[in-house]
């Protein structure tokens, strides 16, 4: 009895440490361990259940191992051959049956949740639909019901089901917002995926690409801004406002002919590159240069980040398909002007 209490006493701090690690670790906007929506919460519950079962297994195995290693080490002068035990049916049945039982305990909620998260809300009228198209190395978000197509920053209303349709424009990527829920691959046409996520509170969450997609795979992040309904509606309205172009007409013309062949602002431009509408309101440039409005340590003014990006896109995100503006005939001064224009192109919402 005494011995058992000793063992528990020894284990308690370990378990407490584990609980601490599980509850407190990581950034609220990034960590799997700090869920900010029901899907991530449900998945974390499953993870916790699995970890608990596995800790039980490990305690048993490590306990037996420690006992055996201490008790049965060869002592000096011990030369009598130990008994050659063939096996023990009772024991063998026990250690077949108990793991089977443990697996069952994990299997039941697993199956429940597989089907729960497998539900497709694409045709659910209450859900906000977002078509996600991944590109090397940026994300396109199209809201078919709102006529809005943005990039890199996904804006969603809090508390609503967001039904995602996931596909890729080139290689496979994987859409992952850890604090809102697990990931799903963006496949090519013909195997399009669907997934539903909900954000419980207004905040900005970090999203990442989780499938190797080329050199800048690690830099293919995005942001998810969860906002209240009214703000969301304002955002949609602001986004659909007519395009703002650079004031200097020569620069505007150069911007139009060069940049807008791929990018779009407002109702103008193409869709081969990320939409630039409201660049000045975004938290990042190219998803890894942090702008000061994000409030992150080490972030820089949006304009500085834009200058850095426009001066040498390959240095920031190797392998991306954007041509170097200098090769398109932009001078340093013009790059500065474009950066200034974009940094001040803000959406009011």
């Amino acid at each position: 009895m005494m011995k058992r209490w000793q063992a528990v006493k020894r284990l308690l701090p370990l378990l407490a440490m584990f609980a601490l690690v599980l509850s407190g670790c990581g950034r609220e906007d990034l960590s799997v361990l700090r869920p900010q929506g029901p899907v991530a919460q449900g998945q974390l519950d499953l993870i916790k259940l699995a970890i608990s079962i596995m800790i039980v297994v490990m305690v048993v195995v490590f306990g037996i191992a420690a006992y055996v290693l201490v008790k049965f080490r060869k002592k000096k002068g011990q030369d009598k051959i130990p008994e050659q035990v063939e096996g023990n049916h009772k024991l063998e049945i026990i250690w077949t049956a108990i793991p089977l039982l443990l697996v069952l305990v994990l299997a039941i909620p697993t199956i429940q949740k597989v089907f729960a998260y497998g539900e497709n809300d694409w045709n659910n009228p209450d859900a906000v639909k977002v078509e996600v198209t991944s590109h090397q190395f940026w994300w396109e978000f199209n809201y078919p019901d709102y006529g809005v197509k943005t990039a890199q920053e996904l804006v969603i209303p809090v508390g609503k089901k967001i039904a995602f349709q996931l596909k890729t424009n080139d290689v496979l990527h994987s859409f992952w917002v850890p604090s809102l829920g697990g990931k799903m691959d963006t496949n090519t046409e013909g195997s399009v995926n669907y997934m539903t996520l909900i954000a419980d509170k207004a905040d900005t969450y970090i999203g990442k690409c989780a499938e190797l997609c080329g050199p800048s795979h690690g830099f293919m992040e995005f942001r998810v801004k969860a906002v209240d309904d009214a703000t969301f509606d304002n955002w949609v309205a602001a986004f659909k406002a007519p395009a703002v172009l650079p004031e200097d007409p020569a620069l505007a013309e150069k911007f139009k002919t060069n940049c807008l062949s791929c990018h779009a602002v407002g109702d103008q431009g193409g869709s081969m590159g990320p939409n630039l509408t409201g660049m000045g309101s975004r938290e990042t440039v190219a998803s890894i240069l942090l702008n000061d409005i994000s409030g992150e340590p080490g972030s820089k003014p949006t304009k500085d980040n834009l200058v850095e990006w426009l001066s040498e896109p390959q240095a920031v995100k190797p392998g991306n398909t954007m041509p170097n503006p200098k090769d398109l005939g932009f001078t340093d001064q013009e790059i500065e002007q474009i950066a200034d224009y974009l940094a001040n192109y803000k959406l009011d919402y």
Binding site: C25, G26, R27, L30, S31, V32, Q43, L46, I47, A50, I51, M54, M58, F62, I64, A65, F72, P82, E83, Q84, V85, N88, L91, E92, T96, P99, L102, V103, L106, A107, T110, K113, V114, Y117, G118, Q136, V171, L172, S174, P178, G182, K183, M184, D185, N187, T188, S191, N193, I206, K208, A210, L212, G214, P215, H217, G218, F219, E296, P297, P318
Partner: protein, 632 residues
């Protein structure tokens, strides 16, 4: 087999390098596998260290993003196909024929061919580093990233062609060991008297036979897409990238068990020897091994939970995967209860075996966690997965291989590895291992995805990544200590006892270390499980022979396996560069007109024809010679 006319042929015997190029002796081939596997393991290890150094701090720029992707691709591919597989084959070659009381493997010539195709395939793959860039699409080479559109160097061609050639060698090895274990067992050695390492080698070989052809087809399809303009994975022409994932993992998951089962076998030999007890629950161990192999073919889609196969498939594959925990658990408890009541000696071999048990349990339990598909949506492609499979493959397999190498080294080379150095190897490697990979579980849960060249600061990744890199360096030190041990040991005189651990249980410990080329002067009679132990307990110093002393027939050495493999190597290079645009018109002629490829194939086929037309009668070691050796 004694052909009436066999001994009338005088056989050519080589020495020096030619001896190694032409040998068909399974013991020498084992050593060749060990050297080649060790070399590739070293290369893969350097790649690993470079990866970890790049990740030591946020936004590091030690290597470029492109080189980083090449490093991760080659690290995975090299370690799995060229590092650990050959070391497994090294031990299988060195030990299995001895354990079953055989003079040789069923196909000595094919054994050599298997080695040389593996080696040339591996060399071809690694040539990519100096010939325009290594493959960069991950060891899984998912399409479309691995198609010419997104990976325009020849890297992925080196991957597809190199692995096809190396895979051919593995397949040949698998068939050879299956046939060897089925037909070459000594009298009295029934299947249920076979040592566990032989059992696991047998099951692994069977899995190789049924898994490797699938990846061969996958690689052929990918190389056709890349080099012949086929459309298997080209969506625009109706192809399907998800098809590649299925083919890859139908092979890929069994491959994991192909790797780990022999480690199970090694642990099942080492623990009983150093506990002086027979393996607890032998028959349930055999049963569990077979069950794991069977389930191993049923679970491939658990690598594809996030591909979007739908809830029904995900649920089925989740359950099937979880079930593997049951036979694996049986094994763990059997090992623990083998030690229970024994007299445990902490030799370096046994330290690795004992270290294996808890480490592998940790890898196993995270495996069950990953099997829970909805939870896997979070784990998938994060450092949690990286931690999991390194616990299984390094903490499991590599610990097992180190254990086996320390254990069988005296049998293979006639010299004991230095024990203090061996213990240092264990502690540095084991501590380094846990430092490297334990923290990676948390990195994954904190939101760090795998295969990223760098990461921004302030995501709580910095400290854990730093610790992980320090651990990796420590593992590197452990490997260097092992190498030092090998060098130190090689300078010692040869000639240890038959049974240097004194508690050997199986047949390999009943013959000299290293064994003579014919292994057993007289094939032993097996009277039970742990045949040698049984004789020792009955008071006998040697095995009872099952046959009178007589001339022993041996196969002739041959250079043909080397030539065949060389031909495949040349043909592979030729095929790979057949679509290349050369500025030099001569190069363009010989490559674009498939001349190099045809020359390579002609070399291979000519060697095959030579092998078929000229009968190998082998030679005999005469009775007088055997008796002379016995006295010396």
């Amino acid at each position: 087999m004694a052909h009436a006319h066999a001994h009338s042929h005088s056989v050519k015997r080589y020495s020096g390098l030619m001896d190694w190029l032409t040998t068909v002796d399974h013991k020498k081939i084992g050593i060749l596998y060990l050297i080649a596997g060790g070399l590739f393991f070293g290369i893969g290890g350097i790649e690993a260290i470079l990866i970890r150094l790049q990740l030591i701090k946020p936004m590091n720029d030690l290597v470029s993003a492109q080189v980083f992707n090449e490093l991760i691709t080659m690290h995975g591919t090299t370690m799995i196909f060229l590092g650990v597989m050959p070391v497994i084959f090294a031990l299988m070659n060195a030990v299995v024929p001895l354990q079953i009381g055989a003079r040789d493997v069923a196909f000595p010539f094919l054994n050599s061919l298997g080695f040389w195709t593996f080696l040339f395939g591996g060399l071809l793959l690694n040539l990519s580093w100096i010939m325009g860039g290594a493959p960069d699409a991950g060891w899984t080479s998912y399409t479309p990233l691995s198609t010419t559109e997104y990976s325009s160097t020849h890297g992925v061609d080196f991957y597809t062609i190199g692995l096809q050639i190396a895979g051919l060698g593995t397949l040949i090895g698998g068939i050879n060991f299956l046939a060897t274990i089925i037909t070459m067992r000594a009298p009295g050695m029934s299947f249920m008297r076979m040592p566990m390492f032989t059992w696991t080698s047998f099951i692994t070989s069977a899995m190789i036979l049924f898994a490797f052809p699938a990846i061969t087809v996958g690689l052929v399809l990918l190389s056709f897409d890349r080099l012949l303009g086929a459309n298997f994975f080209d969506v625009a022409a109706g192809g399907s990238p998800v098809l590649w994932q299925h083919i890859f993992w139908i092979f890929g998951h069994p491959e994991v068990y192909i790797l780990i089962l022999p480690a199970f076998g090694i642990i099942s030999e080492v623990i009983p020897t150093f506990s002086r007890k027979r393996l607890f629950g032998y028959s349930s161990m055999v049963f569990a091994t077979i069950l794991i192999a069977f389930l191993g073919f049923m679970v491939w889609a658990h690598h594809m939970f996030t591909t979007g196969l739908g809830p029904v498939a995900n649920a089925l594959f989740a359950i099937a995967t979880m079930l593997i925990a049951v036979p694996t658990g049986i094994k763990i408890f059997n090992w623990l209860f083998t030690m229970w009541g024994g007299q445990i000696r902490f030799t370096s071999a046994n330290l690795f075996a004992i270290g294996f048990v808890p480490t592998f349990v940790m890898g196993g339990v995270t495996g069950v966690m990953l099997a829970s598909a909805p939870a896997d949506f979070q784990f998938h492609d994060t450092y949690f997965v990286v931690a999991h499979f390194h616990y299984v493959i390094v903490g499991g397999l590599v610990f097992g291989l180190f254990s086996g190498l320390h254990y069988w080294w005296p049998k293979m080379f006639g010299r004991m590895l230095n024990e203090p150095l061996g213990k240092w190897t264990f502690w540095t490697f084991a501590i380094g291992f846990h430092l490297t990979f334990f923290v990676q579980h948390f990195l994954g849960l904190l939101g760090m995805q795998r295969r990223i060249v760098s990461y921004l600061p302030n995501q709580n990744f910095d400290t854990l990544n730093f610790i992980s890199t320090i651990g990796a360096i420590l593992m590197g030190v452990g490997v260097l200590l092992f190498l030092a041990n090998v060098v130190v040991t090689a300078r010692k005189p040869s000639g240890v006892a038959n049974d240097p651990w004194e508690d050997g249980r199986t047949l390999e410990w009943s013959i000299p270390s290293p064994p003579p080329e014919y292994n057993f002067k007289q094939i032993p009679l097996v009277r039970g499980l742990d045949a040698f132990w049984k004789e020792k307990m009955a008071g006998n110093k040697e095995m009872t022979p099952s046959e009178p002393l007589g001339p022993i027939h041996m196969p002739s050495p041959s250079i043909l396996p080397f030539v065949m493999s060389l031909g495949l190597f040349i043909a592979g290079l030729g095929f790979m560069f057949s679509t290349e645009e050369f500025s030099n018109s001569f190069m363009s002629l010989i490559f674009n007109k498939y001349i190099v490829m045809i020359v390579g194939l002609v070399i291979t086929f000519a060697a095959m024809i030579a092998r078929s037309v000229f009968d190998d009668h082998g030679y005999h070691i005469e009775t007088e010679e055997l008796e002379g050796e016995g006295k010396a």
